[in-house]
């Protein structure tokens, strides 16, 4: 379960940033009083154009950023008061996630298992299960720098899931991937849902959203424009398809 209430994030703008953005404002509001609730066993999709505030919201959820105000609750843990505890429950994967190119998949997975304090037996069991599931055995000892994009993505998935998180956050997970590699991610999201995990993912690809999500929120300029189920979104559509409806909502808000 993820529950966020009145979440706000402000960034102080440097002189150079003010010049670049052509503004006199000293503060930029990236997320403006956003509230949402993601429930276990359902896939929540956070939708918005580039710069809408999706990544900032997800980074606050995963405790990388501290909110300016508001509250974040991750599986009953106050993530602002106890960020380390909350992080134990979270698996975080982004499309731009890098891996340590000079290490092997085995070394990376062990490193993250150690950082999460996983016992040796749990580690061995989960590693074996994930390696089999993702067909990783044949490249487990190769340097990551020498692996293909698809193989790297599998290592990222394994790294995200090695501590068996209750909540999985995906930030534009398929961005820049080919359809075959993206399929691994889509399958992972489905598996997480089937296992009763809380899943939130950000995207601007409507076909992916349609394929996977149960609940949906649209965010633009840091503000929430829609929050509801996918079914209610579809039934109230004024445009002819999902993409057109998404564009209509964004344009209307401008």
């Amino acid at each position: 379960m993820i529950e966020i209430t009145d979440l706000r994030k402000e960034f102080v703008l440097s002189k150079q940033q003010r010049k670049e953005l052509n503004t006199t404002d000293k503060i930029a509001v990236a997320v403006d009083n956003v509230s949402l609730k993601c429930t276990p066993g359902r896939v929540f999709s956070l939708l918005g154009p580039n710069g809408a505030g999706k990544t900032t919201t997800l980074r606050m959820m995963s405790t990388i950023f501290k909110p300016t105000s508001g509250s974040i609750n991750i599986t009953g843990i106050d993530a602002i008061a106890n960020p380390a505890e909350a992080r134990r429950k979270i698996g975080f994967l982004t499309g731009s996630t890098g891996l340590y190119a000079r290490l092997t998949p085995n070394e990376v997975i062990k490193y993250f298992a150690d950082l999460y304090g996983i016992s040796k037996s749990d580690f061995e069991e989960r590693k074996e299960r994930l390696y089999t599931l993702l067909d990783m055995h044949h490249f487990q000892g190769k340097r990551i720098g020498k692996l293909s994009t698809g193989m790297k993505q599998k290592v990222s998935i394994c790294r995200t899931m090695i501590h068996d998180p209750e909540v999985v956050i995906f930030d534009e997970p398929t961005s820049g991937l080919d359809v075959i590699t993206a399929e691994n991610i889509i399958q992972l999201i489905r598996d997480c849902k089937d296992q009763g995990k809380t899943v939130i993912f950000s995207s601007h690809i409507m076909s992916e959203v349609d394929l996977l999500c149960d609940d949906l929120a649209i965010i633009h300029n840091g503000k929430m424009l829609f929050d509801g189920t996918m079914d209610s979104f579809k039934s109230n559509m004024q445009a002819e398809n999902l993409t057109a409806e998404f564009i209509r909502i964004i344009k209307e808000s401008n």
Binding site: F65, R87, I90, T94, T97, Y100, E107, F112, L115, Y116
Partner: protein
């Protein structure tokens, strides 16, 4: 958790060829190569200077006293050939063209003055760019002057002792260790500072800016590990790399001395062995650790702030000059470790190391130097922590 991060970062760093080059290969090889070339070249020069046939241009009578004495000087004093000139104009031209290496011009009254036991003037021309030729002329003429003086003393039937009012003997009270420490001891701290800095540089950029650039830092920050633990784990590797680079440079220096035999003087070699005791090495590292932590603490905030490897490198590289400049203090004689210099970071380490080699290190001043470096290193670490904790800095 700090150790887990340290282990991983160390493994990652040791697999980076660029870091390995800067941390181990270059520091180990640079001294054997430089010293070998230096010793080889200077030996060739000395040998060449000793065996080189010197052409001496001479303006004066054929039966000139100096000329006769020059011809009768032993061959061990170097091969020479006399070339006669009518005047000094052509002599100077040829000297410039290196057709001759030394020119001598005796005045017309030279022989008459000598015979009447008056001072006889001889002008010596030389080309200062032809290194060693003035020395060679001085050796010849000092010998000839000594012979002439002895002849006059005999002629005048004087007692030589009566012409020697003072007998002066200079006795050096400084030990050989002190001499080496004060005069050549500056090289060791210079090596440590220069290579310690270089050794820290690449891991600092790679582990902080590199991780940002490669997009791996975001994942690391979502683990339950506190940011200060991540910082300390990474900083440990940066400090270790700096220490390893310094140690590698020291090893390179030892290699030059022990294997390549660049120090031929047995007495000097024995003194160097005497200096390198276990206590000396322990004290040296006690000075080096806060210094290297300080370097890491200065570089990490820059590496955290920079958005790319290039940007970090372009800021840290000029900083190298700022840090290494105080190390030059070690080469100036007369600047000693005292209450003032012990409070100047980096300079105190250089001067303390010099005193350590000389065996004249004051433990009180060492404690002050260590304390100053400890405080400044702690401050640098604090600044690193503040920068690393800034969320706008750690993500691109």
């Amino acid at each position: 958790m700090i150790f887990t991060i340290f282990k991983k970062e160390l493994k990652d760093t040791l697999r980076d060829r660029r870091t390995l080059m800067m941390m181990l290969v270059i520091p180990i090889l640079v001294f054997p190569i430089i010293m070998n070339i230096f010793v080889g070249v200077s030996a060739t020069f000395s040998e060449e200077a000793a065996t080189k046939k010197v052409k001496i241009g001479f303006v004066g009578d054929k039966d000139n006293y100096v000329l006769k004495q020059l011809k009768s000087l032993p061959k061990e004093m170097g091969k020479k050939e006399i070339v006669f000139y009518r005047d000094s104009v052509q002599l100077k031209k040829d000297l410039k063209l290196d057709s001759i290496q030394i020119g001598m011009y005796s005045e017309k009254q030279f022989s008459s003055n000598l015979e009447s036991q008056k001072p006889a003037k001889l002008i010596v021309f030389y080309n200062a760019t032809d290194v060693g030729m003035k020395d060679r002329a001085e050796i010849y003429l000092n010998t000839i002057e000594d012979i002439a003086r002895q002849e006059r003393i005999l002629d005048l039937k004087l007692d030589e002792a009566k012409l020697t009012p003072l007998v002066t003997e200079y006795s050096n009270v400084a030990s050989s260790e002190e001499m080496i420490g004060k005069l050549a001891g500056g090289i060791l701290p210079y090596i440590f500072i220069a290579f310690g800095f270089l050794g820290c540089m690449y891991p600092a950029i790679d582990l902080f800016t590199g991780e940002k650039e490669r997009g791996t830092i975001e994942t690391l920050l979502t683990t339950p590990v506190a940011r200060w633990q991540i910082l300390f784990g990474k900083m440990g590797v940066v400090v270790l790399s700096g220490l390893l680079a310094s140690t590698a440079a020291l090893l390179g220096l030892s290699l030059s001395i022990e294997v390549l035999d660049v120090v031929e003087n047995a007495e000097l070699l024995a003194i160097i062995h005497g200096i390198l005791s276990v206590k000396f090495i322990l004290l040296l590292y006690a000075l080096l650790v806060p210094l290297t932590v300080f370097f890491a603490g200065v570089m990490i905030p820059i590496a955290v702030y920079a958005k790319s490897f290039k940007e970090a490198q372009s800021i840290i590289t000029p900083l190298n000059i700022v840090m290494v400049l105080p190390a030059m203090v070690g080469f100036f004689p007369g600047i000693e470790l005292n209450l003032t210099t012990a409070c100047i970071p980096v300079v105190n380490i250089v001067l303390a190391t010099k005193d350590l080699i000389a065996g004249t290190l004051d433990m009180g001043l060492l404690a002050i130097s260590f304390g100053v470096m400890f405080v400044i290193a702690t401050l640098a670490v604090f600044v690193s922590y503040k920068q690393f904790d800034k969320e706008t800095n750690i993500l691109i």
